[in-house]
């Protein structure tokens, strides 16, 4: 590359790397969602999802995840102003939101499995558990990732001059929220 040209990766190479990871991750979700659509459209006996799944509880879960996205942007803007205490507080809120989401999902899964919906029982069960499970793994990883950032915050790593990593964990977290918006619509509502 011409050295006079500024690199497209500078100064935020970490952010661009996270975006590239998220796009490859988006492709795996796109593959799963498209496979789900193909299986469902070619199957005339596909049940109405809401006859099996609970929409109100999942709508609440969607709300919780959107709220945790808001606390995440609040965490980033806190540290951009140098407010370390605010960063800690909002990171904890975000992690609580993610944990609440996972708990409700665990409750929902337990309920459905007790009622007889399993991965191997039907294509409906297979697509449901794979899609929500793959997303749930992302939420779990996100909570762990946020925990690492929180630990680094307690070690005094971030300041008004240094907050790139907080913004990057935010990108990941918002992406998980974005995917859930699509999964909620395509798996539960439609």
């Amino acid at each position: 590359m011409d050295p006079a040209q500024p690199s497209p990766l500078s100064p935020n190479w970490g952010k661009i790397m996270m975006w590239l990871f998220l796009m490859s991750d988006a492709m795996s979700f796109a593959g799963l969602l498209c496979a789900y659509a193909a299986v469902r459209m070619s199957n005339p006996l596909w049940p109405v999802p809401s006859s099996i799944l609970g929409v109100p509880l999942t709508a609440l879960n969607t709300f919780i995840l959107i709220c945790s996205s808001v606390t995440m942007v609040k965490a980033v803007s806190a540290i951009q102003k140098g407010d370390v205490a605010g960063l800690k507080k909002f990171l904890v809120f975000t992690m609580l939101g993610g944990t609440a989401f996972l708990s409700i999902q665990a409750y929902e899964w337990t309920h459905l499995i007790r009622e007889g919906l399993t991965v191997q029982k039907s294509l409906f069960g297979a697509t449901f558990f794979v899609l929500t499970g793959f997303h749930g793994c992302h939420v779990f990883s996100g909570v762990v990732y946020l925990g690492c950032i929180l630990a680094a915050t307690f070690r005094g790593r971030y300041s008004a001059q240094r907050w790139e990593s907080v913004e990057i964990v935010g990108l990941y977290w918002h992406f998980v929220d974005l995917i859930w918006i699509l999964v909620f619509t395509f798996v539960y509502l439609i």
Binding site: W19, S24, M41, N43, L45, V55, V73, S77, L189, I190
Partner: protein
């Protein structure tokens, strides 16, 4: 990062929009609209929400244009997946044809006189395909996606 580069968007406004769209989605879901209208409006609202999250929470609208191009260009490939899978799902429909088709004008052979002649032929199958859920879901409502 210069301070000018991250002017804060109105996060509460975005949150309100997401909340309203979520409520609208659930509302549309419970309104029992025609299937096509419901699916189209739900897809449009979901994409609008996803766009809001990407543009404002993920700051895509506030970053350099190059980053948005880097991000959006691979998504073209997901359109390729859809095009690649459409023939499989649309032209194979229904994958398992019923043993005997009942045309709308025909009498149902060996059927009960009180039976619904307009019922979907797929329902007459004695053994449901493995895709049927374990719950006694009403398959008559569970039309194609």
């Amino acid at each position: 990062m210069e301070a000018a580069e991250h002017k804060e968007p109105n996060y509460w406004g975005v949150f309100g929009a997401l909340l309203i769209l979520t409520l609208a989605e659930v509302g549309v879901f419970y309104m029992h609209l025609p299937r096509l209208v419901m699916v189209l409006s739900l897809v449009i609202m979901a994409l609008a929400k996803a766009g809001l999250v990407a543009a404002y929470f993920m700051h895509l609208a506030l970053e350099k244009r190059t980053l948005a191009l880097i991000v959006i260009s691979p998504l073209v490939l997901s359109g390729v997946i859809i095009i690649g899978l459409t023939p499989d799902s649309v032209f194979n429909y229904p994958r398992q044809p019923p043993e005997k088709w009942v045309l709308p004008g025909e009498e149902e052979p060996k059927g009960e006189p009180g039976g619904e002649p307009s019922a979907a032929p797929a329902q007459e199958q004695p053994a449901p395909p493995p895709a049927q859920p374990p719950q006694p879901a009403a398959p008559a409502d569970g039309g194609p996606a």
